[in-house]
């Protein structure tokens, strides 16, 4: 038996961020020595995803994953009724999942000087103001109206034909986030989940005993147990390919570079630049998700550029690693245990006196 160093919490090397928060050297905290490889990751830029599902197929092929229908039943065809998404969700047999969101546009007529009643996106309201201010409002209103056209220059999701203007398609390839503080890894009682030398999180199939604790511990709902097998499975970031110096299968297959693989810090810089480009082009709804190292999981090894709120894509808006609150829970449990003993002793003493 060993005291597991799976979480940096108990190694004492980073007292500041034992259970959550940024960790500059994830592999080092997990016990790898100084010359480990750089931390790698995925940057999934959903603004250029075309929903081709090449990533899903490549992942299934490379990892020889069994077929699932949208309800998680093995070896069965099923239609989800969710647009073009018949995979449904990430799970034991789907380690990449392409979400399809059809959004119909609400009434959004170009009325530059006076905003439409009750819903002015520019926020300043329809008050006719001084010249400069009005020009400013005009420019902003135009920017928002021209949004679709601005997108069309680089975004294959939007086209200019008449009816399509009423619809926006969001497509996003979801994957295990390979968190800096991974809930699944923290709670695994057998040590089956480990941090690799690349900073990714993988399940060792021969150690997993199918307790299923990792499943509800994941704040993103990624890892899942296979029904007939009982053991847990999830994306390995193609650990077998990484050790041979290859890119993961999904990133290799992606035709639009929506899925980018590389060293995490390079990807982060690339993502920041891409976000700046989009914002300068007026795509105000663009945002990075999982990029912030101060978030609840210490930042993700796989992060995303989204064009809408995370929950629209089925992602939690503010995930927190479950073990962040563990010390408080253990303290409450210790108090509760002491209370049981106290009550029992008191009950015995009280019964004695009466005799």
């Amino acid at each position: 038996m060993t005291i597991s160093s799976a979480s940096p919490a108990w190694t004492g090397r980073d007292p500041e961020h034992r259970l959550y928060g940024p960790l500059p050297d994830v592999q080092g905290e997990s016990g790898y020595d100084g010359d480990h490889p750089a931390r790698v990751g995925f940057f999934t830029d959903t603004s250029v995803c075309i929903g081709c599902k090449a990533c899903e197929v490549a992942c299934k092929e490379w990892n020889t994953l069994p077929m699932d229908d949208s309800h998680g039943r093995r070896d069965a065809l099923g239609l989800s009724g969710m647009s073009y998404d018949n995979t449904g969700q990430l799970g034991a047999n789907s380690w990449r999942h392409v979400a399809f969101i059809e959004q119909s546009r609400t009434v959004d007529l170009p009325m530059p000087t006076f905003g439409r009643p009750g819903g002015d996106r520019t926020g300043s309201g329809p008050s006719p103001a001084a010249g400069a201010e009005q020009d400013d409002a005009l420019a902003r209103a135009q920017a928002s109206v021209l949004n679709a056209e601005a997108l069309s220059e680089f975004d294959p999701q939007t086209t200019q034909s008449g009816t399509d203007k009423q619809i926006r398609w969001l497509m996003s390839s979801d994957v295990c986030k390979h968190c800096t503080h991974a809930g699944c890894l923290d709670v695994c009682p057998t040590g089956a989940l480990v941090r690799t030398e690349f900073g990714t999180v993988v399940v060792q199939g021969d150690i997993c005993n199918g307790c299923g604790y990792c499943v509800p511990a994941c704040p993103y709902g990624v890892i899942e147990t296979r029904k007939d097998d009982g053991r847990a499975f999830k994306c390995t970031m193609c650990y077998d390919r990484l050790t041979d110096g290859l890119m993961p299968a999904c990133a290799t297959a992606c035709p639009t570079q929506s899925i980018q693989f590389g060293n995490l810090d390079e990807l982060q810089a690339r993502a920041d630049a891409r976000l700046a480009t989009l914002q300068s082009q007026g795509v105000e709804s663009a945002r990075l998700y999982g990029r912030d190292e101060d978030d609840g999981v210490g930042g993700n090894g796989a992060f995303f550029l989204l064009l809408d709120e995370p929950e629209v894509y089925g992602l939690p808006p503010d995930p927190v690693v479950t073990t962040r609150d563990l010390p408080a829970m253990w303290r409450a449990a210790a108090k509760g245990a002491a209370m049981v003993v106290g009550v029992a002793v008191t009950a015995v003493l009280a019964s004695w006196r009466r005799k």
Binding site: G88, Q103, S285, P319, A347
Partner: protein, 337 residues
């Protein structure tokens, strides 16, 4: 919240009204929180619901609690001249521990790999810590109960009973941390109250059952523990049901709500009956049965409330949205965790 850029979810739009449950039931319960508006991906759950099986795991939680508090009673009974109470509590603790180990192995799905649990010791994993509480606890209680039945080695038996009693407290409460250290919203939010619910509920069940199986002359401590446990269970459960905004909702709606209402009725009547007729044989048995039923139903209710909160994305998205908004406005969140 309308999605940025003037776009809205196409498939259904924001959900405006929570579905009202069927018209039955005379009392119109006031809604805890305002109806909320939120977006989701086709109403799909965001987190995965636990794969833990339903009769096995709530029963495991119940037996663990009852066994833990019985073990403490039996250790105290051994040294306060209450041989029958000590024996009854010891057999209950041993049986409960054996039962919960069995249920855990059944739930694992790959029983031959139970030993993997003892490969490592991980303080960040309540299941790993729990394995190191459950294993010695069940060995000691089963040993003590066996020695008691056979009447062998009374000193060794007393030693085992003391050891089991020392582990009894952690045994009753670690399961609360086990379920609370998940992303399941209704469990996680109540992480600092559930240990007290489980402690109280374990005492109500352990005290109640010991009282039912002991002669009334010796069962004084069991009666007192049962009543105190019931009171603590009710008080802590009240906090869980009301203190956490929207994620408290599953605790009083639908099936888990019904289970918890019945649980409360059983616990209250069991405690009252203990006080009124606990000194009569029939009264003690009836009260003990009611307290045990209340404790078991509490575990089932808490378990199912968590399942409901995991399956509806509302319980994941809305509190997280509120937390984000609170952070941006620079004041403490109104919804905890």
């Amino acid at each position: 919240m309308t999605a940025a850029g003037g776009w809205r979810q196409a498939d259904r739009g924001p959900r405006l009204k929570r579905k009202k449950r069927g018209g039955g039931g005379g009392s119109r319960e006031l809604s805890m929180v305002d109806d909320v508006e939120f977006t989701s991906y086709y109403g799909r759950p965001i987190i995965k619901p636990p794969v833990w099986k339903s009769p096995e795991v709530p029963l495991y939680l119940f037996l663990g609690g009852a066994a833990g508090s019985s073990a403490i009673l039996s250790a105290l009974g051994e040294f306060t001249k209450r041989p029958t109470l000590a024996k009854a509590a010891q057999i209950l603790a041993g049986g409960g521990a054996l039962g919960s180990v069995g249920l855990l192995i059944v739930d694992l799905g790959r029983p031959e790999r139970f030993l993997h649990m003892l490969r490592v010791f991980k303080p960040t994993s309540p299941l790993s810590v729990g394995s190191y509480i459950l294993s010695p606890f069940s060995a000691l209680t089963v040993g003590a109960a066996g020695l008691h039945v056979l009447g062998w080695f009374p000193r060794l038996r007393k030693l085992a009973a003391v050891g089991a009693g020392a582990l009894g407290g952690p045994m009753t409460t670690y399961t609360a941390v086990l379920i609370a250290n998940t992303a399941v919203p209704s469990w996680h939010a109540a992480g600092e109250q559930l240990p007290f619910v489980f402690a109280g509920s374990g005492m109500a069940a352990g005290g109640g059952m010991t009282m039912a199986f002991s002669p009334v002359a010796e069962a004084g401590p069991a009666r007192k523990m049962a009543v105190a446990g019931a009171a603590i269970e009710l008080a802590a459960m009240h906090q869980v049901e009301n203190g956490h905004g929207i994620v408290s909702e599953p605790y009083h709606e639908g099936r888990p709500g019904l289970l918890l209402k019945i649980a409360k009725a059983c616990t209250v009547s069991g405690a009252a009956l203990t006080l009124l007729t606990g000194r009569k044989r029939v009264g003690a048995v009836l009260a003990g049965a009611l307290l045990a039923a209340g404790s078991a139903l509490t575990r089932f209710g808490v378990f199912e409330a968590g399942m409901v909160s995991a399956k509806d994305p509302k319980y994941t998205v809305v509190p997280q949205r509120e937390r984000l908004a609170a952070r941006q406005n620079g004041h403490a969140p109104t919804v905890t965790r």
